[in-house]
Amino acid sequence: MDKVIASTGFKGSFHDFTEFLRADPRFFYDQADDLVNGYRIIAKKIDPELAHLFGKLPRLPYGVCVIPEFKAPSQTTAYYQAGAPAAGRPGCYFVNTYNLRARPKWEMEALSLHESVPGHHLQISLAQELEGQPEFRKHAGYSAFVEGWAL
């Protein structure tokens, strides 16, 4: 980590660096729409890379959605809500725009990889589209596998 810090040109201790990451305004959006668009740009950068890594991709798309205001203060920074191919409903990568000073830009890329693709959306949508399997295999979740995959 020290080498990584040094490579950025930062002058200061490890503690100074983590404080810098936590507090410097350059790492935070001022507007909720900008944060959401930031996530959408990241998602669209990731999407085409999947073709290099996976031979089979889900038919069901996903979108970046905003966590509703009424529950945003108590919710995590982001989560994935499965879609439903049978109902024509896409997957939703929900992102939290509450308290923008708690949503640093440097966490957005890893978070997106986990919640959308190649994380939850890819795995869960492919499961939903399995053919020849009983319904519970398409919809039931096994946390160790689901969260393990998304790591």
Binding site: P68, E69, F70, K71, P73, S74, Q75, T76, A78, Y79, Y80, Q81, A82, A84, P85, A86, A87, G88, R89, F94, E115, H120, I124, Q133, P134, E135, F136, R137, H139, A140, G141, Y142, S143, V146, E147
Partner: protein, 335 residues
Amino acid sequence: MIRTLLMLAFSAGSALFVMPLLAFAQTSSSPVEVTGKFREYLDEDWKRWMQEYPEAATSAGFPGQNRRWSDVSREGIEAKIHHLHESLAKLKSISRDELPAGEQLNYDLYRELLETAEEGLQYGDDPMPFRHVVPFNMWMPMTQMGGIQQGIPSTLATMPHQTVADYEDILARLEAVPKNVEQNITLLQEGLRKGYTPPKLMLRDLPKQIADLIPDDAWKSALLAPFVDLPVGIPDRRRKSLRDRASKLYVGLVAPAFQKLYDYVCANLCAGVPRIHCRDSAAQWRRGVCVPCALANDYESDATADSRNRSLRSEANSRGNGQSHRFDGIQGQLP
């Protein structure tokens, strides 16, 4: 982290049907025959779970369940528990060894789901076997991370929003909200009687979440959100009719139900819970942090927590007296 309606929603009204008993041959059946009967059992069981948990059916896109909430009355829960026991017994009557390898995997996975759900019953876990991360707990049905205050608006948002029939389904669910809320208040009461309460931190934002569902400007409520932007394919006159009916249901039934829930949570769950002594067994961790449910986080001083509790009780009283957030009619304008 993933969220699905399988774990978010907990709510009313189910029409159970009796699953036909399947006779599983234990011997002298071909693998094809045994597999066919095993799959028939799985299909029927899936249908029955979807009918017992309409919110999960909505989430999975299973048709025909969008007008109801799960029945979480005592009778409804007993029926689900009975189904769980019955389902596991039927699975065990199937000869795993006669199934081909791929189906043995399905057998083992399904059995794990059912057995885990059955084991969780002693802790008040919901009988629903298709879980995600943490099972829903019937004795602690609401926290700031889940419960009907999130599940109902989330389900309404997830339902199809294309046709008049879709909106008729949403109206039917709105009409059924009070029954669902009443059943959940009963569950909260039952949980308190048993000495179960979530960790206090998990209750911190709960009252506000409920209050935010019933704002002064009703058309800003997440409960009416599906009716704000109706599809252009629905004729104007019909759209107005759907909105009018939604607003009447909101004013007459839905908002008062959530007001009652708010008052109950403030007066009983968060502000007035007597001290509950911690139990020693780590296996009983699900019973939560056994301290008063102050609306304070763990780092606040007792004095601060007491102050916040007094403030909360005062707010609850003022709401109960109709001094704020009473629902005398729709306010605000549709955009």
